[in-house]
Symmetry: C2
Subunit: 336 residues, 2 copies
Amino acid sequence: MYYRMICAALIALAIALLLGPGLIRYLKKLHFGQTIYELGPSHQQKQGTPVMGGLMIAAGILAASLICHPIPWSGEWDFILPLLAVSFLSMAVGFADDYIKAVKKRHDGLKPMQKIAGQIIVSLGFSLYCYFSPKVGSCIQIPFTGLEWDLGVFYIPVMTLLVIFIVNSSNLQDGLDGLLSTVTTVSSASWAVICLILLVSARAADSADTTTVGVFAMSMVGACIGFLRFNRYPAKTFMGDTGSMLLGGGTVAMALLLRQPLLLLLSFFTPIMSSVSVIMQRYYFKLTHGKRIFLMSPIHHHFEKKGYSETQIVSMYAGITMILSLIAIVSVCAMQ
Amino acid sequence: MYYRMICAALIALAIALLLGPGLIRYLKKLHFGQTIYELGPSHQQKQGTPVMGGLMIAAGILAASLICHPIPWSGEWDFILPLLAVSFLSMAVGFADDYIKAVKKRHDGLKPMQKIAGQIIVSLGFSLYCYFSPKVGSCIQIPFTGLEWDLGVFYIPVMTLLVIFIVNSSNLQDGLDGLLSTVTTVSSASWAVICLILLVSARAADSADTTTVGVFAMSMVGACIGFLRFNRYPAKTFMGDTGSMLLGGGTVAMALLLRQPLLLLLSFFTPIMSSVSVIMQRYYFKLTHGKRIFLMSPIHHHFEKKGYSETQIVSMYAGITMILSLIAIVSVCAMQ
């Protein structure tokens, strides 16, 4: 049971590392280079770096979580199916966007309405699954208190919005070399540890499902570390919307299945801040007719304009995520 | 009980961050700059960076672990005293070395015999403490098996050597900006999580001691993250032998008190490899009368000579430590 998780991390790591060089060569040949249009401060030198490197993360997660998944798929309410569905369907939306931008060379990618429509379908479907699943239901746990909060039928719209919010936050965070992959490595490791703690303290009944989530979390850790081999500064490939939406989808799916969506505020704090900073910037700009809070949003570009280097910002975000993830882990222990 | 750990991390983080700028200014004024003598490949530009920044880690750990320590000291076999004794006495040896080198400007620092003598006193004393403590004793746990291995009276010499080995490994690893502090952040976080898992699954009897170790681990995490603010590439300060021996001593003390010294092979793998690579290099050189296995030892300088940048090596070491630490955590779960 426990050792499946180790295998998942190692398999995902190996696949990402093995696929990496070939995938990068292939993407370069297809001219899948990222075209940089003033997305960040002075990133012109990144022109030509192939996007869609997220496909190596996808391959690692898919293979590792299927191989190490504890039960052969039985057609019942099994957690592996929704986990893969949410992450890979979210990825599909991002992939379509990347594909249109990179291969068809059309700057705008998917139309906003198409993107949102795709995301709503995925997130609404997943919220309905959770609501009706006897293993999840409409209760969520409130960290630090041990209380459960029954959202009733409001669970469905709230969680639909949450899934969309987290997937897009993850997408917004992906703006510096190694940033999102490092943060997701740490936050996924904390989800894996949370599963371990639930398994150690839990009734045997639901252990297969917790193990499934733990295996998925560990395959995310392994795949992200493997991807970082190529994505750390100076990046040889970007994950693209393909990868960022995959990671966002996978993270939010784990949180919902464990009935711990509020813990995302801790372990996924920095991606959420990316979204929040964009929203604050936009509203403040409208309210004040042209003033800005941040030099640039999302907030990691603000730090860049302030003179921090990419690696400094990544290490700051990693440190913050590590501390907050440990707090999340402690809160789960305290509820046992 | 659990929340003490969170407080420890936050207090240690805050102290390191607050003390940092003042300490660096003060050390610079005292001309505590590191004098670089061909210690690594082309590090001449690091001349003048103040060493002994490890003092801010020390302050963070000391304050946080004393404030958040679960029991007021009662004079009994309480774990906080040996933890602080081993780490701070190890630090004292390193501090003496740094002080002689940096302030007295004598290249050689402590004489090797003085250094070893100091380390033997600390490690022998600690091994005797563990051997005679009813809470530790001469048994160690074998990971993955759930078996206990009674070393009997051999516990004392074996653990004495182990403590010296780990403290010096930690010292050898400290050769690149942010390297040891990043690795120790991850490995200490894994010790904190191991304590949490023991607490969740344990009998109440020994929970105060496990909490003590957990609080200490979390204060190491907080202090290291705070220190990384100043030590990451390009480093504004080095921890020096002061810091590296402190971190090595603290890590090995936690492992011994939890009766899990063998887990150091996983969570402290990269520092151990630093030692092993130095030993291999030296023996190979002697055996072959002048050939080398690595371009330079410890092995991180080998990677540097191979053309990897400092940040690339740090991120590789961090990834390896994270995977191995997760394996260590899983092995502890499997033994519950």
